[in-house]
Point group: C2
Chain length 160, copies 2
DNA sequence: GTACAATTGTTGTATATACAAATGTAAAAG
DNA sequence: CTTTTACATTTGTATATACAACAATTGTAC
């Protein structure tokens, strides 16, 4: 509640001044604001399950492997964050027993990461909630508008 | 260099799978990816000046006052982050002598924050660089597309 | 086959984010 | 005028982000 209210307050203040700025500056600010809103709402959903957004993402990445292990590099490549953090992030998932880590037999520099059955169970528990949240967060755009948005954001990020 | 390459690698991997997801999920991922790209590039510019993005934002907010002091709450309301951090963030700006903090005479609970002349000088030094970066980051969208993007993002964030 | 380079992962430090609790001051209630 | 409530800021703790340095293992060159 508090967060949403605070956020809306920020937004109103920003929208007054944003319109005077260049379209580029506006775009940057709008992306930052939207990101903050998405992050906040997703975190609201994940928090009761004691997962951060990045931890949730890593679990989904590992689930996507369907039993095949991934090493740190693999996981890292599918994330939008930094190597240095991934070790510690996964440490926390291992503590919660959602992930297992083993030494890779062929190459002892590597590690093998696998999601556990508890991890899978937790993901199933959350999936629907996250889906609903994502739908709700984007609900004041029509499907056509969302496609348009995705087109623009993809174009923006791909070559820039 | 390294960051950009890594980022592009991530993006390519994501774009393969993203298309299979719902438009809502795609939008969320695209906003996250774009945010990361923007943040990385802005940080590249600010880093040589020993400023974080949020520190830079606070300086710009204070400059916008043209001599009138702001208290913490005011600054916070114009930011996209959390109260708890703002104290510490400003501590660092004070250490760098870009900002002065005084007790508010009418209400000793409040503080008065002012940008220093060094702070103003630093901002002038960076302004052009940041403008160029923002323009360059958004350069593969036309002005019309950027306006469209701003419309969609504003609509997305305003009521959701 | 030893020296050097590359790969893979871990650790350290600074900053930012998120929340809760604590501190100090002002205002309101009684 | 004292107690309670609200306000403004600070501090503490956990996680995430960014970068650099380090350690261990593997690969390559001579």
């Amino acid at each position: 509640m508090y967060i949403q209210q605070l956020y809306m307050k920020d937004l109103n203040i920003r929208l007054k001044t944003v319109s005077e700025l260049s379209v580029s500056k506006q775009a940057v600010i709008n992306v930052f604001l939207t990101h903050t809103m998405f992050k906040t709402k997703l975190l609201d959903v994940l928090k009761p399950h004691d997962l951060s957004i990045e931890q949730f993402n890593v679990l989904r990445i590992l689930r996507g492997q369907k039993g095949k292990p991934l090493n740190l590099q693999d996981v890292q490549d599918r994330m939008v964050s930094k190597m240095s953090n991934t070790t510690r992030l996964i440490d926390k998932l291992i503590l919660k027993e959602f992930v297992n880590r083993d030494e890779c037999p062929e190459n002892r520099r590597k590690i093998e990461l696998l999601i556990s059955s508890e991890g899978l169970k937790k993901l199933e528990e959350i999936d629907t909630l996250v889906d609903q949240t994502e739908t709700q967060m984007t609900s004041n755009l029509t499907k056509t508008e969302l496609k348009q948005l995705n087109f623009l954001l993809t174009k923006l990020a791909t070559t820039a």
